[in-house]
């Protein structure tokens, strides 16, 4: 799988953006939360998101033939979506990093820090959009469709929320104690994640219909790869996503049934769900590259 570097990079980058945005969303619900509670939410999440993004960028650099010249990739921002993607990626990394440090060290006023976070989040979302446009090549019917940005943003939302949920559940396990803000965050983010997982599954048939109706033979080849050659992977990914979503909901129900019960009972279903969802997304992303077919020779 020679595109494995790109699989890892796109997933980790989208996860990082999603986690950052998820945290931002959560702040919206954060009125009345104690500062300490908030820190115990932001801390773990940011600790996860930041390094992951750095890892993702490093992995993508390994994909390059000449990584030492990587800076050249910023020279074509106006025209090349890849150039724009890298620029936005660096923006997000820097702004998000500064924000994290600022939060940690309490630099500046909360308002300014929030503004910084918003700008960072927007550049992150811009990054995801740019990634989707990188793949929307007019020579690749399987990719040149609105389904690509739809799937990328769904991944962002799904992996981001579930990653934050997982890190919060883990931190709750490691440092138990009452944290209503954390509980509310977990609740809402789990619901969002479950919804995103269901949406991802729901989108598949529509995408297959798009491939089937596409006039170019290359689309049909992609279709055959997805539904004939690699159907176990396709089906497996849907099953994993669905199971992950169900497990998350189950965990939520458990948590509410036990009222304020903390600890391991909540942790393991959440972590398993996260594992299933990450695995499902990984398989889907591998399929994304594996079924790439160019017009012309690819369509034979």
């Amino acid at each position: 799988m020679h595109e494995f570097y790109l699989v890892v990079f796109t997933l980790t980058a989208q996860l990082a953006v999603g986690a950052f945005v998820a945290l931002g969303l959560v702040q919206v619900f954060a009125h009345g939360a104690a500062a300490g509670e908030r820190d115990r939410v932001n801390g773990p999440a940011l600790t996860l998101a930041g390094p992951l993004l750095v890892l993702g960028l490093a992995v993508s650099a390994m994909h390059l033939g000449s990584p030492l010249r990587a800076a050249n990739s910023l020279l074509h921002v106006g025209t090349s979506w890849l150039s724009a993607e890298i620029a936005l990626g660096l923006c997000f990394l820097v702004l998000g990093g500064v924000f994290a440090v600022a939060e940690w060290c309490k630099w500046g006023r909360p308002g300014s820090r929030t503004a910084l976070a918003v700008v960072a989040a927007l550049s992150g979302l811009g990054l995801v959009w740019a990634m989707s446009q990188v793949y929307s090549l007019r020579t690749v019917p399987a990719w040149a469709t609105p389904f690509t940005p739809v799937n990328f943003f769904l991944t962002t939302l799904l992996l981001g929320s579930v990653a934050v949920v997982a890190s919060l559940a883990t931190s709750a396990h490691v440092t138990p104690g009452e944290n209503a803000f954390r509980d509310r965050s977990v609740l809402w983010l789990s619901l969002i994640a479950a919804a995103a997982a269901v949406a991802t599954i729901a989108v598949q048939p529509a995408y297959l219909a798009y491939l089937t109706d596409h006039p170019d033979a290359a689309a049909q080849v992609s279709m055959d790869l997805l539904t004939v050659t690699y159907w176990p992977a396709l089906v497996g990914s849907q099953v994993m996503l669905g199971a992950g979503a169900l497990l998350l909901l189950f965990a939520l129900v458990q948590a509410f049934a036990a009222r304020r019960r903390q600890g391991t009972a909540l942790t393991w279903p959440v972590l398993v769900a996260t594992g299933l969802i990450v695995a499902g997304e990984l398989v889907l992303r591998i399929l994304f590259y594996a079924t790439m077919t160019r017009i012309g020779f690819g369509g034979q």
Partner: protein
């Protein structure tokens, strides 16, 4: 400013036997290793066999070859997507790679529907047919053109070639020419099929 506004290849598909003298001449001139092939010759075949009751067979078999390097397109998707501007369209309309700028991300290879950009293991950058730019500036022909034993390859000013020989490049297994507007003029083989309406298949996908 070069001697040409836009260089183009002229290819007589009705003469090509798929011998690949063009491919090997290019490799010989540029010292390309196995695995890095700037000019390739896809074969497109079709037709069926029918075996009769007495064992006698009937058929409508056909096949043809297309010699292809880089088409130095008017709308080169490789140039558009390159993040470092290493891939650029320059003198004589030639699209080529600046190895000092190239980071080897292979995005151009991902985009190009003719499989023209190839990764060079030695320099860790992309490489492809550059229309033998060094020979062109000296008034010489590209190595492939000079090599073809059937004289099926030629080259010249794109406009002139089109005026004389037409503007056909949308033949299977190539993609529709409106996508990147290749500077390639093909004289079709009698069995050639239009892009996207083929009834055959690519016979040698591992050689492209």
């Amino acid at each position: 400013m070069g001697a040409y506004k836009q260089l183009a290849f002229l290819f007589d598909q009705s003469k090509c036997t798929g011998c690949k003298a063009c491919q090997v001449a290019c490799k010989d001139k540029h010292d390309l290793p196995v695995g890095q092939t700037w000019r390739r010759v896809p074969e497109y075949s079709g037709g069926q066999w029918r075996i009769g009751v007495d064992g006698a067979v009937t058929h409508d078999i056909w096949t043809y070859y297309t010699s292809l390097s880089c088409n130095h397109c008017d709308d080169p998707i490789c140039v558009e997507v390159c993040p470092s501007t290493a891939m650029h369209k320059g003198e004589n309309g030639i699209v080529s790679v600046d190895p000092a700028l190239c980071i080897g991300c292979k995005y151009c290879a991902m985009a190009c529907p003719y499989d023209a950009p190839q990764f060079d293991e030695a320099t860790r950058t992309m490489s492809k047919c550059d229309f033998c730019a060094d020979r062109i500036t000296k008034g010489k022909r590209p190595a492939c053109v000079a090599a073809c034993p059937m004289c099926a390859l030629d080259f010249g000013e794109a406009e002139e070639l089109r005026a004389k020989y037409g503007d056909e490049a949308s033949l299977e297994p190539l993609p529709e020419q409106s996508v990147t507007r290749p500077n390639l003029v093909i004289l079709p083989h009698p069995k050639a099929q239009p892009s996207g309406h083929g009834t055959g298949h690519l016979a040698n996908p591992t050689e492209i």
